[in-house]
């Protein structure tokens, strides 16, 4: 059966989100925060993530638009756009882009754009509160929403893993996870409604994260590019992978499972269930 699904095009455009980021950088923080709160920015993120999950993404890797973003700190040395430009594949993509006048956007590029807006909001307001990125009032909402956003974001990253061929993209993607965990924590911490949070809402993302983590490991094992990297010294073969490979996502993983606060209760639940046992087996 065919199901028709109407999708907001601008919402799923990385260009619009990077425009929003530029705009927020130029706007007075307090005014912008008030405005975002008024219009329910967190619901917007949730909505976008939900639609992103439904969309059938092109397999393109080039996601930058023509306009240069001045003073953009996101551009790392390993970033994909510049490197792809010299490869034949990148040329083809660029030609496609100029012909149709539209950017070929990859799911990871889009997720990175959304996450960078969230990240900016967390960074720009965290100094005042002193709680890190977790206690930004713009990004606070019902715990269910926070759990949903983190879960769907991870699921989206999970879907886009095949596209992650460059280290720069991987860094972008995993850094986005931290921002989303910040949202989730902000929604869960100090929430009076915490009793209402069901098992599914709060543990759900953790389970997805475990799934994601396993998939990431498989991905790295398969990938020739990374097999030469420092992550896989041959003498450590046989040692549980969780001890010899401390990647960004593992740090995030452990930070999520062993963070203080309400998650401690869940951590004990997890210990009983033994969520890491399947990791040790390898």
């Amino acid at each position: 059966m065919l199901i028709l699904c109407v999708v907001g095009r601008a919402r799923l455009s990385g260009r619009f989100w990077s425009f929003l980021l530029e705009l927020l950088k130029k706007t007075d923080r307090a005014v912008a925060a008030r405005c975002l709160r008024k219009h329910g920015f967190l619901q917007l993120v949730g909505m976008t993530m939900g639609e992103c999950q439904k969309k059938d993404w092109a397999k393109g890797k080039l996601w930058r638009d023509g306009r240069d973003r001045d003073g953009d700190v996101e551009m790392e040395e390993g970033s994909s756009a510049t490197e792809l430009g010299s490869s034949p594949e990148g040329d083809v993509l660029q030609r496609q882009q100029s012909r149709s006048g539209e950017t070929v956007e990859s799911i990871c590029g889009f997720l990175g754009d959304v996450a960078s807006v969230v990240e900016y909001l967390q960074e720009s307001t965290s100094g005042a509160t002193g709680f890190g990125g977790s206690a930004v009032s713009v990004l606070r909402g019902p715990p269910e929403l926070g759990g949903q956003i983190l879960g769907v974001y991870l699921d989206n990253i999970h879907r886009g893993l095949g596209d992650l061929n460059e280290e720069g993209e991987l860094n972008r993607a995993t850094r986005g996870i931290e921002a989303m965990i910040g949202i989730w924590k902000g929604c869960v911490y100090g929430s009076a409604d915490l009793k209402k949070v069901t098992w599914h809402d709060s543990i759900g993302p953790q389970l997805i994260l475990i799934k994601f983590w396993e998939r990431l490991l498989q991905f790295f094992r398969k990938h020739v590019y990374f097999q030469h990297a420092k992550f896989f010294p041959a003498k450590l073969r046989g040692v549980p992978i969780s001890y010899c490979w401390r990647s960004r996502s593992q740090i995030i993983y452990s930070r999520l499972l062993f963070s203080p606060g309400p998650t401690r209760r869940f951590q004990e639940q997890n210990r009983r269930l033994g969520p890491r046992s399947h990791l040790q087996r390898k």
């Binding site: 109407v6 907001g8 619009f16 329910g40 917007l44």
Partner: protein, 71 residues
């Protein structure tokens, strides 16, 4: 161009005018240059605040504007 014309154009909700196509105009207002590099002089005090409100509101309200996906 007059500021009122600009805001009216950005606020328009015609079915033919998608939100994504309005982005070019919004970028012109924000950066003060058009796509081919011409300088656009618009007197628009507090344009950033206005644009943030516009962007978030329209992003949230946007309902597909004809973009249909098969799932």
């Amino acid at each position: 161009m007059k500021t009122t014309d600009l805001t009216k154009q950005l606020r328009s909700r015609d079915s033919g005018q998608s939100l994504l196509s309005l982005l070019d105009l919004a970028e012109q207002v924000l950066y003060g240059t058009s796509k081919d590099g011409r300088i656009v002089n618009v007197h628009f005090p507090k344009k950033e605040e206005w644009l943030v409100e516009w962007a978030v509101q329209r992003l949230k309200e946007e309902e597909g504007d004809g973009g249909v996906e098969y799932v």
